[in-house]
């Protein structure tokens, strides 16, 4: 999954939780609003109709009376219409009343009203037959009491409905109280839910982003460590590809790059091995042949032959040294210097090395001294390479120190490192040349021999051991070179394993 999608999903999780809470709150509110509304409205309507009916019945009887007395057809039509409407409204009231008592009262009223209508029909019949007097008499004697009965029944019904309305109003008030409580409860619940949801959402978002961040950081840290290792020349196993996002792609590219670097490194190593072999082999043979001739292995020599063969021997020697130095330096700067590391006593090794150089010093009339500061400074490194560093520095010192001077080598261990100091009372180095003495082919004094690579090699060897070399000098007073090598169990930077 791509990185932006992962981040989007983490945020979407939060939004989803919030949306869920909102929908739930709305549903709860809607539910509350629809509760307890119909009953009160319905009862009030019934009451209104009942009062209307009561009035209408009285009115209808008056109208009918007039119809009968005056024989006005208009009154008859209005009276009939009113009676029909009353019948309708009675039906409607039946739908609206809620209690059995109301229904009984209503039934009685309806019955009485039907009786009244029957009387009206009969009275109209008499009237039609021209007997106004009897019709009027019928209405007065039979119709009127029925109207009174209807009215009194309706009054009873009104009372019943009124009390039912009162009851439902009381209920409604109670329901209102309940609703208030419910709203209060809902409010509290919504608040809790929103708070919980917010906390949950924030936690989810934090967890999501933290997971992404942790994985990202871990991958990047691993990549950074691997990069550091590669920079130091160690090609480790390829990085594990944990995700398919940009970081995974980066790790993949990194692995490809490391693979390529490893190949290049191998090619380089192969090149140096081949070149060193091809150059050194014939030179070794030449030197050995010249030496054998010089030593009369092939018979006696004339003075001239001896002079020429000696030139050849020295030149070959010099060329071989140069080739060796160039190769060592190239390998060291490519990080391919093979080191055969082990623990050894630097003081003892250096003392032995100086013993070998002493005849050369004596020949030049220079005192070569050795001072061991603190017991047995132990070094973890390639003994031959460290000897080579000391030889280069001492040979340099001997070359630039006039007869009668001295070269002193001091070894002392501090808590963290072992220092080898090579001091001479020689020509010294000009201040402006001092920063460049460790560069290749930079010689402070030309014409005194040397390949111009000695100090560059010393620096490369020191660095390959995780150490360094520094110089202090005063022109005309002498120089002091200091090799600093890490001491103790600390593991030096990984350098290419010894090659074969």
């Amino acid at each position: 999954m791509r990185l932006p999608i992962k981040i989007f999903l983490a945020c979407a999780l939060v939004l989803l939780v919030l949306a869920g809470v909102a929908v739930w709150s709305l549903v709860e509110l809607a539910h509350l609003a629809s509760a307890e509304r119909s009953v009160t409205v319905q009862t009030a309507e019934a009451l209104r109709l009942q009062v209307g009916i009561r009035e209408a019945v009285v009115e209808a009887s008056h109208l009918e009376m007039r119809n009968l007395v005056f024989g006005d057809r208009e009154y008859a039509a209005v009276s009939s219409a009113r009676a029909a409407r009353i019948a309708q409204e009675l039906d409607r009231v039946e739908e609206l009343v809620t209690t059995d008592a109301e229904r009984d009262a209503l039934k009685q009223a309806a019955q009485a009203f039907n009786d009244f209508r029957a009387i009206v029909v009969r009275a109209r019949g008499l009237r039609a037959g021209g007997d106004v007097k009897r019709a009027e008499e019928l209405m007065r004697s039979a119709g009127q009491p029925i109207v009174t009965r209807v009215v009194s029944t309706m009054d009873g019904l009104v009372r019943l409905t009124q009390s039912s309305l009162d009851r439902s109003q009381t209920e409604a008030t109670a329901a209102l109280g309940e609703t208030r409580t419910a709203i209060e409860r809902l409010r509290a619940r919504t608040l809790t839910a929103v708070t919980v949801a917010m906390v949950a959402a924030v936690l989810a978002a934090l967890a999501g982003t933290a997971t992404i961040a942790v994985r990202l950081t871990r991958s990047l840290r691993r990549l950074s460590e691997a990069t550091k290792a590669v920079a130091e020349g160690a090609f480790r196993e390829p990085l594990p590809i944990e995700s398919k996002d940009e970081v995974g792609e980066l790790a993949q590219s990194f692995n490809r790059m490391v693979e390529r670097l490893r190949e290049i490194d191998q090619l380089k190593e192969q090149f140096y091995t081949t070149v060193s072999h091809e150059l050194r082999s014939p030179l070794n043979a030449m030197r050995e042949s010249a030496r054998l001739i010089e030593e009369r292995a092939a018979g006696p020599l004339t003075a001239k032959q001896e002079r020429l063969i000696s030139i050849m021997h020295r030149s070959t020697e010099r060329l071989l040294r140069l080739v060796n130095e160039v190769l060592d330096l190239s390998r060291a700067s490519a990080g391919l210097l093979p080191l055969d590391r082990g623990w050894f006593d630097a003081a003892a090794v250096i003392a032995r090395t100086l013993d070998e150089l002493r005849p050369q010093a004596e020949q030049r009339g220079i005192a070569l001294r050795f001072e061991n500061g603190t017991g047995a400074p132990r070094v973890f490194g390639d003994q031959d390479r460290i000897v080579q560093m000391v030889v280069n520095l001492v040979a340099n010192a001997l070359r630039f120190t006039p007869s009668g001077g001295s070269v002193t080598v001091r070894v002392h261990a501090t808590e963290t490192d072992v220092r080898v100091l090579v001091e001479d009372t020689g020509a010294g180095i000009r201040a402006e040349l001092l920063p460049h003495v460790f560069e290749r082919f930079r010689q402070a004094h030309s014409g005194l021999g040397g390949t111009g690579l000695g100090l560059a090699i010393v620096r490369a060897m020191a660095e390959a051991h995780g150490g360094r070399v520094t110089v202090e000098s005063e022109e005309g007073r002498g120089s002091r070179f200091t090799i600093t090598l890490p001491q103790g169990a600390q593991t030096p930077a990984p350098v290419a394993a010894p090659t074969r």
Binding site: N284, A285, E288, L292, A297, D340, R500
Partner: protein
Amino acid sequence: MTDKTILIIDNDEALVDVQSFYFSEHGYTVYTALDGDEGVELAVRHRPAAIVCDVIMRNMHGFEVLQALRRRPELTRTVVIMTSAKAYKGDIARALELGATDYVVKPFRTDELLSAVERHLAAAREA
């Protein structure tokens, strides 16, 4: 098996020539091989008293040559001196473990090699 026969196995032709010259001058019958296969073949054919063999060679590594030589019953007691530009303790230990008589680090002086060969031959004679 005469005492003064030597087989030199090395890829480095110039070095082989120098050593060949020097050993001949000192009365040796010298056989030379420029690779391991040829070396093993010559060793089996001529059964020299001493063999000088380089470790780092193309085709066949010096240690393989050493193993091949020591597998032949007639060559188990032959003086075999391994030579190499590498002075790693591990390499030296391995060579001696595989049956090398000695291990000489290059570059060496030919007269030193001669004295090493003569010393080991004398020791072999006494044994």
